[in-house]
Amino acid sequence: MELAKFAKLKDEISSAKNIIQLRGLRDQFQQSTGHIEQLHGAYDIEQWNFHINDVHDTLIRKTVALAELRMVGEGFGPPPTSYSYLLLGSGGRSEQTLASDQDSALIYEDALNNEEVKRYYINFSGRVVDMLKQLGYPPCDGKVQSNELMWCQSETEWKEKLENWFTDASWESIRYLLICADARSVAGDEQLFNRIRDYYRLGLFRHVTIMERMIDNTVQYKMLVGIFGQFIKDRYGDHVGSIDVKYGAYIPIVNSIRWLALNNHVTSTSTLCRIDSLFDKEVISVSEYHQYREAFLQMLSLRLRAGHRLEEGYYEGFSKLNLKKLGSDETRDLKKNLKIGKEIQKHVLREFGR
C-alpha cells in the first residue's frame, strides 16, 4: 500500500460513522496490505510497521470515540472524569501485526464517587472491547483487557496496584509490571497516563532489586537456535519444519530490549525506539546497535510473514513460519540474527553477573 493510500484510509477511518463502516475499512486495509513478501530491506519493514500501526491506532482511537457516543446515546452520559485508554503488548509497542489480539487497560481520574465512576468505565470499556471484536481484533486469552476490573482503575488505584506489585515482586507481579512497561496511551487524556508512567519509573528507582527479579521472566523464552547453530524446528504436528517466530525469535528480543531499556531509564515503548535510546545512552556500542536493529527488524518481518487467517470474524495470527518459505539469504540471515538474539539475552544476564 502506498503512503497516499495509508493517509486516505486514515481519513476515512476518522470520519466513519459507525462500526460497520469501520469493519469495512479494516477488511479493505487487511486485503491491501497482505503482501509482506514483497517488502525488502530494513527501511521497507520499518516503514511498513509504522504505517500499519498508525492505521491500527486510528481504528482503535475511532472505536473509543464511537463507544463514547454510544454511551451518550444509551443514556449513560459522557465520561464522568478524564480517562486514558491504554494499549499494552504489541499495541503498546507499536508492533501490531495484521492479526494482533486486544491487550488494553484504562486509567480514569480519581473521583469521590469512585464505585459509580468505575461502573461507568467498566461498562464503557466493555463496549470498546466488543466493538474491537466486531472489527476483528480477537479478545485477549489472558484477560488483559480494559473491561476487566484488574485493568480498569482510578489513578490512585493504579498507583497502589503498582506499589503492591513492586513490593510483592512475585512471579505474577513481575509479569504484570512487565506488561505495564509497554503501556501507551492511544486515546483520552495523555497526562493522566504520563503521571502513572512517572510513578512506574519512580517504582523502579525505589525498589532497587526489582530489575534483577525481572531477569528470570525476561529470558524465559529461548532463541530457537541450537548449540551447533542449527534451527530448533517443530518436529511434530501441523507445523513440522517450522519455527515459532513469535516465541522463539521475536519475543525473546523484545523482552531483553525492554529489560535493558527499563534498567537504563528509557521511556519509549517501541523496541526500535528503545534500541535507539540505548545507543544514545551508550549502553550498546555502534556495532551492537546495528546488529540489534537488524535482528529485530528481521524478526518483525518474519512475524508478519507468518501470516494470519480469518476465524469467526477475527483476524487470528500464526506464530509459526515454515522455513521452506524463506530464501537461502533469509535463512542465513535468520540463523545469524537468532544468534544475535542470544547475545542480547546474554547482555541482560551480564548486567547482574549471571
Binding site: 529461548k222 541450537g226 548449540i227 551447533f228 542449527q230 530448533i232 518436529r235 511434530y236
Partner: protein, 450 residues
C-alpha cells in the same frame, strides 16, 4: 597357649568343615552348584525383564491399549515357553546339526533331573536361560506390532518366531553354527536377541503401516505421546537391572569372577548411553528429552551386550556414548522414512544392536577374545580387519535372514487372516476390542473412545 591354639583350630574346623575336610569331588559339586545357582539367578533376572517390557510398551503407548499390552506380554512369554520347549531349543542347540544352518534333536526337551557326567551345570537351567533370551527377543519384536495388531497375529507369530526364526540365528552364533565357526563374537546377544527382534519389528511395522494419526496426509509426523513416562522410566530401571542377568549371566560360570567384569562394562556403557543421548537431545532440540535419555540407556545396554566380555572399560564407555547418539538420530531417521516405531524398538534394539556387534570388530582385545575363546581381537588392538569383517557378516546375514523369514510369515498372515485390527477397533483401543475391558476402566468409558 597350646591349649588355646588347639581350641581355636577345632572351632575353625567346625565353622569351615569343607575347607578342612573337603574332597576334590565335593569342591567340584560345589562349583557346579554355584554355577547352576548363578545361571538360575540370571534366568530369573532376564525373565523379570519382561516386567520392564510391559512397563516400557504400556508407558510408551496410549491408555486405551495398556491392559492389552501387559496381558499379551505375559501370555506370549508362556506360549514361547511351550514352543521353545517343543521345537525352538532343538533348532538352536539340537545335537544333530544340519550343516551349521540349524540344530536338530532334543525336541520336546526332556532334561536329566541332575547334572550329568562332564557337564558344568544341569541342562535344565541352560534351557531356562536360553528360553528367557528367546522370550526377550520376541518381546522386542512386539514393538513393531504395538497398538494395531490383532491378538491372533501375536499367537501365530510366536509359533514361527520361537520355533524357527530366532533359534536358527541363535544356532548360527551360539549353537555351533556357521557364524560361530567364523569366530562371530556376540557375547550375550546384540545380534541374536536384539537385532533379530528389531528386524522382526521392522517388518511388522512396515506391513502393518503406521498407527492412525501418526502421519498427516502431507507425510508430516504427529507425536503420539505415551500415557505414562514414569512407567517408561521404571521399565528402563527394571531392564537395566535385568541386564546383569543377561550379560553377566552369559558367563554361565562364577569361575574366576569374570562375570563381575562383564557386569562392570555393562554398567559403564549404559550410563554413557544415557548421558550422550540426553546431551545430544538437548543440543539438537533445545530441550533435554527424557524419552531420548531413556532410549540412550537402553541403546548403551544393547550395544555393550555383544562386547561386554571382549572390551576394555574405556571402550565400553565409547560404545555406550556412540550408542546414545546413534539411537537419538535413528529415531529421527525412522520418522523421516515414515516408519511408525511406537516403542523405538528399531532404534534401541536394531541400530544399537548393529553398532554393538560391529563395535566388537573394532574394540575387542586379543587378550579378552582369548579368555572368552571366541574370535580374535578387533581392529584397534590387532590392526586386523578380520574380526570386523566377521561381525559385519553376522549383522548382514542374521538381519537378512530374520527380515526375509519374518516377511514370509507375516505376509502370509496378513493375506490369510489379516494382521491389523479394523479402524474402529484401533480407535476404540485394543483393551476393549480384543479383550472386552479397559486396563484403566475408571479413566475410560466406551463412549469416550479415547
Amino acid at each position: 597357649m597350646i591349649k588355646k591354639t588347639l581350641l581355636a583350630l577345632g572351632l575353625i574346623s567346625m565353622v569351615f568343615p569343607l575347607a578342612a575336610y573337603a574332597s576334590e569331588a565335593d569342591i567340584a559339586n560345589l562349583t557346579i552348584g554355584l554355577d547352576s545357582l548363578w545361571i538360575m539367578l540370571a534366568f530369573i533376572l532376564v525373565l523379570l525383564m519382561q516386567g520392564g517390557f510391559i512397563l516400557l510398551e504400556a508407558g510408551s503407548t496410549r491408555m486405551k491399549n495398556a491392559g492389552h499390552v501387559a496381558g499379551k506380554t505375559i501370555f506370549t512369554v508362556g506360549l514361547a515357553a511351550i514352543v521353545y520347549w517343543a521345537v525352538g531349543y532343538g533348532v538352536a542347540f539340537g545335537s544333530s546339526g544340519i550343516s551349521g544352518f540349524m540344530g536338530w534333536g532334543e525336541f520336546f526337551f526332556s532334561p536329566a533331573t541332575e547334572v550329568l557326567e562332564g557337564e558344568s551345570y544341569p541342562a535344565s537351567v541352560f534351557f531356562l536361560f536360553q528360553l528367557a533370551f528367546a522370550a526377550i527377543s520376541l518381546s522386542i519384536a512386539w514393538g513393531g506390532f504395538a497398538e494395531r495388531a490383532k491378538l491372533g497375529s501375536y499367537v501365530i507369530f510366536t509359533l514361527f518366531y520361537v520355533s524357527f526364526i530366532y533359534p536358527i540365528v541363535a544356532h548360527w552364533i551360539w549353537g555351533g553354527g556357521w557364524l560361530s565357526e567364523h569366530g562371530a563374537q556376540d557375547f550375550a546377544g546384540s545380534t541374536v536377541v536384539h537385532l533379530s527382534g528389531a528386524v522382526a519389528a521392522l517388518v511388522a511395522t512396515i506391513l502393518l503401516k503406521p498407527r492412525i494419526g501418526k502421519f498427516n496426509k502431507d507425510g508430516s509426523p504427529n507425536e503420539i505421546l505415551g500415557h505414562n513416562q514414569v512407567f517408561t522410566a521404571l521399565s528402563v530401571l527394571l531392564l537395566w537391572v535385568g541386564w546383569f542377568g543377561f550379560n553377566a549371566g552369559s558367563t554361565v560360570a562364577i569361575g574366576d569372577g569374570f562375570f563381575a567384569y562383564v557386569g562392570f562394562t555393562t554398567m559403564i556403557a549404559a550410563g554413557a548411553g544415557g548421558v550422550s543421548a540426553l546431551l545430544i537431545s538437548w543440543a539438537v532440540s533445545g530441550k533435554a528429552d527424557i524419552t531420548s535419555m531413556l532410549n540412550g540407556v537402553l541403546g548403551g545396554l544393547v550395544a555393550i551386550t555383544a562386547s561386554c566380555a571382549f572390551v576394555d572399560p574405556w571402550a565400553a564407555a565409547v560404545i555406550g556414548l556412540i550408542a546414545g547418539v546413534l539411537v537419538f538420530y535413528s529415531v529421527k531417521m525412522f520418522e523421516k522414512l515414515k516408519i511408525d516405531d511406537p516403542i523405538y524398538a528399531l532404534s534401541v534394539h536394531g541400530m544399537a544392536g548393529i553398532w554393538g556387534t560391529i563395535a566388537n570388530g573394532i574394540f575387542a582385545t586379543q587378550a579378552l577374545a582369548e579368555k572368552v575363546g571366541v574370535g580374535q581381537g578387533g581392529l584397534l588392538d590387532t590392526g586386523s580387519f578380520k574380526q570386523l569383517w566377521v561381525q559385519i557378516e553376522s549383522v548382514v546375514f542374521a538381519g537378512v535372514f530374520v527380515a526375509v523369514s519374518s516377511f514370509i510369515v507375516l505376509g502370509i498372515m496378513k493375506k490369510v487372516m489379516g494382521f491389523r485390527v479394523t479402524e474402529e477397533q484401533e480407535i476404540v483401543g485394543l483393551d476393549l476390542s480384543e479383550h472386552g475391558a479397559y486396563g484403566y476402566p475408571e479413566q475410560l468409558t466406551k463412549s469416550e473412545k479415547a
